[in-house]
Amino acid sequence: MPAPTERDVDLKRTYDAVVVGSGAAGGMAAHVLTSHGMKVLLLEAGKKLDIEKELKSMEWPYEHPRRGGLPPDSHALSRNEYTFRKPPYAKGLPNKHVYSYVEGWSGADYSKNIVVDEKDNPYTGTNYAWVRARCLGGKTNIWGRLALRLSDYDFKAASRDGYGEDWPISYTDIAPYYDKVDLYLGIAGHPENLPYLPDSLFQRSTRLNTAEVKLRESLAGMGRVLTPYRAGVTTDGLKHNKYRSRCFGRGACDRHTGGCDIHAAFDSPTGLIYPAMDTGNLTLRTNSTVYEVLVDKNTGKARGVAFVDSQTGKNYEAKAKVVVLGASTLESARLMLLSKSRFHPNGIGNSSGHVGHNFCEHIMGPSVTGLVKELVGKPRTLDDGRPAGFYVPRFRNLADRQSNFIRGYGFEGDSGTHMFPGHASSTPGFGAAYKKKVRDYAGAFISMGAFGEVLPRYENYVDIDANVKDRWGIPVLRFHYHFGDNEKKMAADMADTAREMFVAAGIEIIGVDRDTLPEGWSIHELGTSRMGNDSKTSVLNQFQQSHDVPNLLVVDGSSHVNASCQNPTWTIMALCWRSCDHLADQVQKGEV
């Protein structure tokens, strides 16, 4: 189904709301506000892509001139460059285009127009692997699709272990909105009835293969769980959405850098924005890079935004009764800090001085790879015809109390045959015996890697570097961010427990990686404008509304009070839905 026709942008009128950013947060804001009849202008910094032509989900490697690889004038930053060089990483490189590390994966040629060119979008400060997507839908075009709920183990973590702040909401506040997201967008999974990882309203689950069932059964004996990947993918279809097909297990999400050209995997354009356009209430303007939230010179309230057309370089203003930021955790912080005025000398919504601070994410790196010997030499099976493999939810600091770290981590894993035998390069030798070994072992490997909670700390923050500007002349972000002691101790435990679980299941250990990946690698940055009840120590109230400026909302990951260890997208969308419902109610009552 082709994208709906776009309405003409009218910058003379005052919209009910202007939404900045078109990813999970901005798309959801557009959906919810338009569903309440509000007239919304959605601004996206990047292009509108003909996404099906970009993704080519079913293309075989040999049909592509570089087997899915980037053109030779492009360079993807490596783990080493993020470790040993300092940002801006693209500075001084001879390549025509420089991309973040995700473009170093095979199949990256399909996403090169989705992610930003680091040459145009520099940042400074401490090392950080910052992955950004500027196009309609943002990172939802290439996301990993693991869709998890948070629980009161997360929302009330501070009460449990004494560190940091509780969220100003409980699970019961957000649960109905998780349900709405599940039903509107579709999610695949298997119910496990875990208090620390609540079930969603699942569609048909993906299935586990032999190695995964073996590990699941062994973990059950340890009081741990392995569950099919909870994928933000509609496996049964959505009757109310004509832009999305159900999943047909083509496995493309595993091979290419994300991307689903039948949109079974959730992406913001087909899941949220196109249906919102069909209400007649949504106006979309792409190539619109917002650089300031404008305020009324008498009241200090938001009156709209200033933006530059990223193609023509011309500056414009858009007027609105409410400004909703969903530009991503770091871009929204940048925009607020850039929006200085008489009323808001430290940036809009920043009387607390907390904007940009308490920045947190997930730490990655420790992982294990094992061999299930009884699968060696078995006839070939089809194991990658699904969105992804499995998830092992958190098991630390639930009933137990670890002596040297707080909070927890979960594992994402996969096993069985893939199109490309990843073990072929690491299998030693050559010749007929080597070739046979690669063939015989192809379906017998299983691996998993951890995602752990990075504690929110005031000292981890971003601010504006006025001396460095992006391609459009907008001052860039400067990072002041490091993993701390808790994360390092947690990472050591990740590697130990990963090994322990494989050994207990009788899986032969091939390798255990104990090293952490550079800061930013998880692409789960959160917390730069946290919610709270105290306007001195938080930026937003429980409805993601600025304490200082009631007609300013920040609906992306900025608002999260801690990172938990669960992937954030589903929570971003549930919170946003709740906040926008509340906003629409306030607007109706004339309270905003």
Partner: protein, 171 residues
Amino acid sequence: MSSDIERRELFKIAAATAYAAKFGVAQEQQRFFTPQEFVVVDELAEIIIPADDHSPGARAAGAAAYIDARLAESREADKKALWRKGVQLVNQVSLQMHGKTFLETAPAQRAAVVERMAQNEEEPKSPEEMFFKELKRATVNAYYTSKIGIHQEMEYKGNVMLNQFVGTELP
């Protein structure tokens, strides 16, 4: 003097071409490698992933031509130098071991040359060992993303429309 070099070069090219004809190597696409280098790389790739009774090998899969095309468009000077030098090193190792250049030796002797280069695969130290690592990486990449590699050798069953997921349904 210069004409002498030219004659020798021509002779080598003729030998390589004859060899290529014998092994069915397509020569017309090559852009980075010289004809002699191409034949050496093609033979090395086939030694790493040979034809067997299960499926054709790297030669039939066109691994050398794929590697050649990538190097021809590459902007990485270091990588290009590694390959240029690498092929020379193969001949040097062969001369050292057998007193003949790589293509002049018998198949078993060629395998012995590769064996020597592969001896420290986990932690390569000498230049020829480093070259083997890159040669194998590139060959593996080219072969297992080819039609032959995916469909005949690995019998890959995916990239198809499935009505139901494969695997165990949990109770």
